[in-house]
Amino acid sequence: MLKRVSGFHETLSDGAIAHLEEGIRIADASFPAPFPRTLEYNAPAHGTWNIVHIGMAVPQSHSIYVCSDNCLRGVVMTAAEMGCRDRFSSVMLRERDVQVDNLETITIEGVSDVIRNLPKEPPVVFVFLVCLHIFTGSDEDYIFRELGRRFPQIRFVKGYMDCIRQKEGPTPDMKLRMAAFGIIQPVRKNPARVNLLGSDVPFDRDCELITLLSSNRFEVKQIYDCDDFEQFLALGDAAVNVCTYPNACQAVKDLSERTSAGFVYLSAAVSFDEIRAQIKALSDVCGRDLASEDWMREQERTCIAALQELAEDLHDWTVAIDYTAHSRPLGIAKLLIQHGIFVECVFLDAILEEEQEAFNWLKEHCPDLRLVPTIQPGMVLYGRGKDVVTSGRRVIALGQKAAWFCQSGHFVNIIEGGGLWGYQGIRDLCALLRQAKEEELDYKRMIPKKGIGWPSLCSTVVSTQPEE
């Protein structure tokens, strides 16, 4: 066991630790917020994307953050670890900027100075404003109007790192996705073009969703297919926009309205009924019957076989699922439990609306399933010897936070569904869980790295602290 901090150890008795239980039975949980808001802990699992990654996904973009040192530090180092320092700049705010101005001058002059010092003018610049801009009443329209006047050849995009508003409205990443897709304008429509947008994890070209479309003569594009900014803007020619990630839903919906394209949100479905409904919705918006009944039945049959095989393989294991791995953790829990796989806990801090059906089902059929928060203060004790899983079974963790809290190297290292979708997604999920059972990963070295899918120049050192 790793060393515990001396003073803390002295003041918190083992008895107190033993009786400090985080998490609740789903039978006792309320929807959609099962846990009270309080102080927040942050586990050392950082594979998910933040606004730096999302902004950088727009090709040839340059990001400029206008904020104070401590707030800058996280985004500066995110860019540095991605190997993207050349696409990232910052303007550091000081007290005097607030005392003599409302941040308009420093923002305009600072951003201008940065741009003039870049080796080449980027075609698109994301300027990120922060909480202080909100509270000092900065005239954002004036800032962007002036920047546009100074640099007419650059497209400026307003981003926010306004964390203070994220619990009472769209999060910074939702707003950034809206702003990024907001620069795509209608162009001549191509009826055979479909965009697959919103997911930070690219879908493989041979995945079920793309295959369903391409086998029906649709050309599918993702943001990752765009080599430059012009190609990004050309995404406006699609006849249909498909969104698969909840945080991008509004952004893709707005884009579709602006470009008069069809829109469909296909959540990462994890039940056969939902998948059928989603294929029908996709068929409707595309105007073609994309899959036959026989094909769907056959797919369901192979999925059931894969799930049965998984259940046999994991008969003495349990699965722990976290919300960073998949936007439908309760849906996955339901799917696995329905097919005989033991799921003991699900890590989440809030429940999405699209999970309500799974939540209700689990509440009724698996009342003892534990919902465990990831940010409640008591979680500081887990991941370092205190067990979340109490059944005594070995744990396969689906997601980085589950791996951390369950202290399990048998884990599936994915975020945001990992590109899993549809019937193939279920089969691939089974394969990943089986692989995780066979292979133990060095999760303590893996999960502190940021942004799965991006290069990482980070050299993590797990511990320079001697073990007891």
Binding site: V5, T11, C71, R73, A80, C131, T136, I164, R384, C458
Partner: protein, 417 residues
């Protein structure tokens, strides 16, 4: 806005140092307290991802308040108080520290009142560290150490006589010999200003203690790697403080004013070790504080006089105490001049006459470009002139995890710099 001050605030490619809020957390990490960052989001993730190497291996009660816009606008401090009290009642921390972020600073949140209320409700000593996220870690960690010292040592301060020294403890009038005082005991010292932001190699804390003991000192406490509050509480009984980074300066000055304990500034590295240790003994003996690396660096000819084709101009850039000590070691080892360029904020009294304090990327580039040989964090290499002889010395508070596997012991660097 006056002039073009924004020119020192733009960073088009270079990173910024660890911020003040992270500095607070780093300073107090191992002491059994609870640190709450009054911030909406992000500070904790930034801190534990980029500014803290202990997060995976060692638990600490460091939390974020999750301030919301509504709470800020309505001045609802009650939620913060309630949440802190609730967590404190669960964990029973040794103390509670609250660090501040930009919005609470802007709206003038009354942290002194909040701390009083928290203390009254929990019975646990609470203090506010005046950060606002607009400064670097040296400010935050420095303030955190200072407030902790005032909290821990206040009883001793109350016992101090008019002379500013402690009754019953080593103080004025006690002549201290080279290695021992008249009572035959070793000179006692505190190590001030040690955090992984400047000393990410854990062994440095042990090596520091070993070196000082080899030199005949008794180490009372280390602020704050490896020592708990019990050790720190004995600090007022020291004869002298050794300040090993600028984060320890405020506490050293306060202890000098309050207890009459002098301080010596520097890191026992390479050839500089012996000079530093002699200076520590001298400080203890004469009760006068000193910064011995400055004496070495100030003895050098001016940079202008050194500018000739036969003498490459060399500098070392970073945090002034660690880099000043390294510069002194370079001068002593190579016999060649080396300028000190301070890139962090806490530097009063820590810079030689030839020291430079560039602000912002523009000035950093202008200053570094003047040198033919530079020792600095690898992220600063691109700011140096073409053909510059560059010696990489990764600094965790700047390059974070990027070069962690290349960071060696600062104490063992010696002439290898």
């Amino acid at each position: 806005m006056a002039g073009e001050s924004w020119k020192s605030q733009t960073w088009w490619n270079l990173p910024v140092y660890t911020g003040d809020v992270s500095g607070v957390c780093s300073a107090l990490y191992e002491l059994g307290g609870m640190v709450v960052m009054h911030d909406p989001s992000g500070c904790n993730s930034t801190y534990n991802t980029h500014d803290e190497i202990r997060w995976v291996s060692m638990e600490s009660l460091i939390f974020l308040s999750g301030l919301t816009q509504l709470d800020a606008i309505t001045g609802n401090d009650q939620r913060l108080i309630d949440d802190i009290v609730s967590a404190a009642n669960t964990f029973h921390p040794a103390f509670i520290a609250i660090a501040n972020s930009p919005v609470p600073w802007l709206i003038g949140t009354d942290f002194e009142a909040i701390c009083k209320k928290v203390t009254a409700l929990t019975g646990i000593a609470s203090f506010h560290v005046e950060t606002n996220a607009m400064h670097d870690y040296t400010k935050g960690a420095g303030q955190a150490f200072l407030h902790l010292a005032k909290m821990l040592l206040s009883e001793d301060a109350g016992a101090a006589g008019d002379s500013g020294t402690l009754r019953g403890l080593p103080g004025t009038g006690r002549i201290i010999a080279a290695d021992t005082n008249p009572d035959g005991r070793r000179i006692r010292l505190n190590i001030l200003g040690m955090t992984p932001l400047d000393y990410p190699v854990r062994e440095d804390a042990m090596a520091m203690r070993r070196i000082l003991e080899e030199e005949g000192f008794e180490v009372v406490s280390n602020w704050a790697i490896g020592d708990g509050l019990q050790s720190l509480k004995r600090s007022a009984g020291a004869d002298v403080n050794l300040v090993v980074s600028s984060t320890g300066m405020e506490t050293a000055r306060w202890m000098e004013e309050t207890f009459g304990i002098p301080y010596t500034v520097g890191v026992p590295t390479g050839s500089f070790r012996r000079i530093l240790c002699e200076a520590v003994k001298k400080s203890a003996l004469t009760r006068k504080s000193s910064v011995p690396y400055l004496e070495i660096l100030n003895s050098l000819p001016s940079r202008e006089k050194r500018k000739n084709p036969d003498t490459p101009v060399r500098c070392i850039a970073g945090e002034p105490v660690t880099m000043g000590s390294a510069a002194a070691d370079i001068v002593l080892t190579d016999g060649k001049p080396c300028d000190l360029i301070a890139l962090t904020e806490t530097r009063q009294g820590l810079l030689p006459e030839q020291g430079f304090t560039p602000e912002g990327e523009r000035q950093i580039r202008e200053v570094l470009a003047e040198y033919e040989e530079v020792t600095a964090d690898p992220m600063l290499k691109e700011a140096c002139r073409s053909g510059c002889r560059f010696h990489a010395l990764p600094h965790f508070a700047l390059s974070g995890r990027l070069y962690l596997n290349q960071i060696g012991s600062l104490l063992e660097k010696g002439g290898s710099l």
